[in-house]
Amino acid sequence: MKRFLIDIFLFLVMALGIASVGDFMVSRGLRKTTVRKFAVWNDIYNRHNLDNDLVLIGASSCWAHYSPRILDSILHISTYNLGIDGHPWYPCQPLRYNTYVRFTKSPKYVIVNIDMGTLEEKTDPYEREQFFPYFWLDDSLVSEIRECKEISFMDHYCPLWRYIGYRNLIETGVASFLGKSSFEDDGVYKGHRGNTSQWDRASLKTMDSITIPHESVVVDSLLHFIAQRKSENQQVVLIKTPIYYELQQRFTNRDEMCQLYDSIARAADVELVDYWSHPIVYDSSYFCNSTHLNKLGAETISVQLANDLLKMGVGAIK
């Protein structure tokens, strides 16, 4: 029995050794990639493209709509897009911001992008893998996401365990670690990448009528966040991001939501920029689907946003 237990122990040591080396290679490799899921986190943890004057926070419509390159060129300040795909406001959007400011100075301006799902209370493990490469770097990140991303004890403490089932990540990470270019270099620049897909009506077909979700706890969280920013002398601006008009027509609570957004802006005493009625929303050539602008649309709305921000006194020329 003793001999068997020693063999089992040796086997486990070997397995742990392999897993540790594998974890090191995969995580380190992924931290070098520009794959969309990791691009912003990598900038944050690698202290790359930081020290910005303005940051944008939001979900997929944020990172797809606003180009820091254009905002930089018009506002003459440094901007960064912290948009995080598929995540409503709570808890991941403030988490992204808070992680960002742990590594750099606080920005002077914070733009909060509001889309259909922003005020929804939703926790699911969607794209939980985006946090994996930083588990051994940042314990506080793990504790923040543990519940909403269903992070188990083994995920946290057992090397490589969390990557099981993510074959693409393992291959991408190892390739990147070995100096080979990433399989999907997404060309993300300061958190943004223009979407080159063609207009697709398919998403409209599945949505006959939509009630925009909103939860009071999420509204409170947003108001609390804005209050904190203002207490640190940061200027906050809310944006109702462009949504294709046909989809807007299917909102059952459009007026109610407009009133809610107005009341949030009033309560927080911040500017609310409304792009729901912007001419761009009536032209499908600017969209790739009903909720996301394409590259041309993103460039157009980024110019518009920059000009609107200039009018509010945001930017180098004041």
């Binding site: 029995m1 001999r3 068997f4 063999d7 089992i8 040796l10 086997f11 070997m14 397995a15 392999i18 897993a19 594998g22 490589l160 990557y163 099981i164 089932g165 993510y166 074959r167 393992i170 291959e171 399989f183």
Partner: protein, 449 residues
């Protein structure tokens, strides 16, 4: 062990745990009753009752709706509107496996092949033994003796068990689950796929089902070894079979042997006056039952008939009665003739598996017709080319290892490897592959049966 077995079963589906316990108690007392019966006739009727209960439970839980729907279709063909209702019957997990164990218990007692046990806990453990209850192997009552016997720890057996678990895990996680990704995608749109794609998916399904089921069996046997128990072998490298009879001697051995003992042999004796025709009839009936054992669908019946008919040339030529033995050349590879036989057998098995995998006979025919198309000579569709290069490598590793080790009990039997460091390198390589491509979390195919 009984508590852990019931916990394991209840964890998978607690709703049917009472049924398992009740069935166990009924058969336990039936076994005692058969021995204590005062007359032969009384023993016969008690055995008959056991068989009727076991088969009845199978028919009800597994085949009730199938029969109702089939009768309704038959009436409809005759222009009659049958007002038959189906029920939403929940099929207990592993029912096909534990029912066969229960049946063999009472039949063997009646035949005088085994003694009833006085220990209800041991009997219940035999029926619900956790490594085997969901997907076999189907151990015979002789296994009860092992459960009752005093066991002592044996280093070599325990290490062997660990190796067999590792090899089973490799087959399931690395080979089967990854083949499943491709097979499932092709089957969801098979009517629009090229002939070559359909062929590739059919071949992948052969490897998937083999790696899935034999992988599970390896793990079950490995766990048994860790507990000091010898669970019956279920696979003996069936992909190297030289003919269909050889294949069925190596594939799902415990089921084939069970049906041979309790169905084929009695039928063969009954039909012995008919000569070869009687044997063919017995085999076809046995194979229809093997097919239907897998589930309530006409595809499984056709699968059984197909395999039964494949025996005809073997019986008529006399090859059925000879044990097929592989001849190899100096390099250890099969001689050309045997290689051809192996390929032919695998071809026939693959065709049968298309029927097995299909949801209806029409679907199977469409699939097979799709293969017989000019697009058979086109390049098959691949989800991602880079993805499939390692996949081919994994299948090759499995096949080469199994070929080299085909005379051993299982493929990762490394007793002959003298150097410990080399054994550990092999374990490490398998671990790396399991971590690399594992985690698809496909359920075991045979859980549904």
């Amino acid at each position: 062990m009984l508590i852990s077995s019931y916990f394991f079963y209840g964890y998978a589906d607690w709703r049917m745990l009472p049924l398992l316990i009740v069935a166990t108690l009924i058969f336990y007392y039936l076994g005692k009753g058969i021995v204590k019966a005062k007359t032969e006739k009384q023993a016969y009727w008690l055995t008959f009752l056991g068989v009727a209960l076991g088969v009845g439970a199978l028919l009800y839980f597994k085949y009730f709706n199938f029969f109702i729907e089939s009768f309704a279709s038959l009436f409809a063909l005759c222009g009659l509107q049958a007002n038959l209702h189906t029920f939403n019957v929940i099929m207990p997990l592993g029912i096909s496996f534990f029912t066969f164990r229960l049946l063999s218990y009472v039949i063997d007692i009646y035949r005088g092949k085994s003694e009833p046990t006085d220990d209800v806990v041991t009997f219940a453990t035999y029926i619900a033994f956790f490594p085997c209850i969901l997907s076999g192997p189907i151990d015979r009552p002789v296994f009860i003796k092992q459960l009752k016997a005093t066991r002592s720890f044996d280093y070599n057996t325990a290490v062997d068990g660990c190796r067999q678990i590792l090899w089973g895990l490799f087959k399931k996680v690395v080979v089967a689950d990854n083949c499943a990704t491709y097979v499932d995608q092709v089957w969801t749109s098979f009517d629009s796929q090229s002939g070559s794609t359909l062929v590739l998916a059919a071949i992948f399904y052969l490897f998937q089902i083999y790696a899935d089921f034999s992988g599970y069996s390896d793990m079950a046997i490995g766990v048994g070894k860790l507990l000091g128990l010898k669970i019956a072998d279920n696979f003996k490298f069936p992909l190297f079979s030289l003919n269909i009879a050889d294949y069925w001697r190596r594939w799902h051995i415990t089921l084939t042997q069970w049906l041979t003992d309790y169905v084929f042999m009695p039928l063969n004796i009954r039909f012995r006056n008919l000569g070869n025709a009687g044997m063919i009839l017995s085999i076809v009936i046995t194979f229809v039952l093997i097919g239907l054992w897998h589930g309530a669908n006409w595809t499984f019946a056709v699968f059984g008939v197909y395999h039964g008919l494949l025996y005809i040339p073997l019986i008529l030529s006399g090859a059925f009665f000879k044990k097929a033995k592989m001849k190899t050349n100096r390099l250890g590879l099969p001689v050309l003739m045997d290689f051809g036989k192996m390929m032919l057998t695998m071809f026939l098995v693959t065709i049968g598996l298309i029927v097995f995998r299909a949801e209806s006979i029409g679907q199977a025919l469409t699939y097979i017709c799709g293969i017989c198309d000019i697009s058979l000579f086109s390049v098959p569709w691949l989800i991602n080319r880079i993805y499939y290069i390692p996949q081919m490598l994994f299948i090759s590793i499995m096949m080469i290892t199994e070929w080299v080790q085909r005379k051993e009990e299982f493929a990762l039997d490394l007793k002959a490897v003298r150097y410990k460091w080399l054994r550990y390198c092999i374990y490490a390589a398998l671990l790396v592959m399991i971590i690399w491509v594992g985690g698809q979390a496909e359920t075991y195919i045979y859980f549904q049966f």
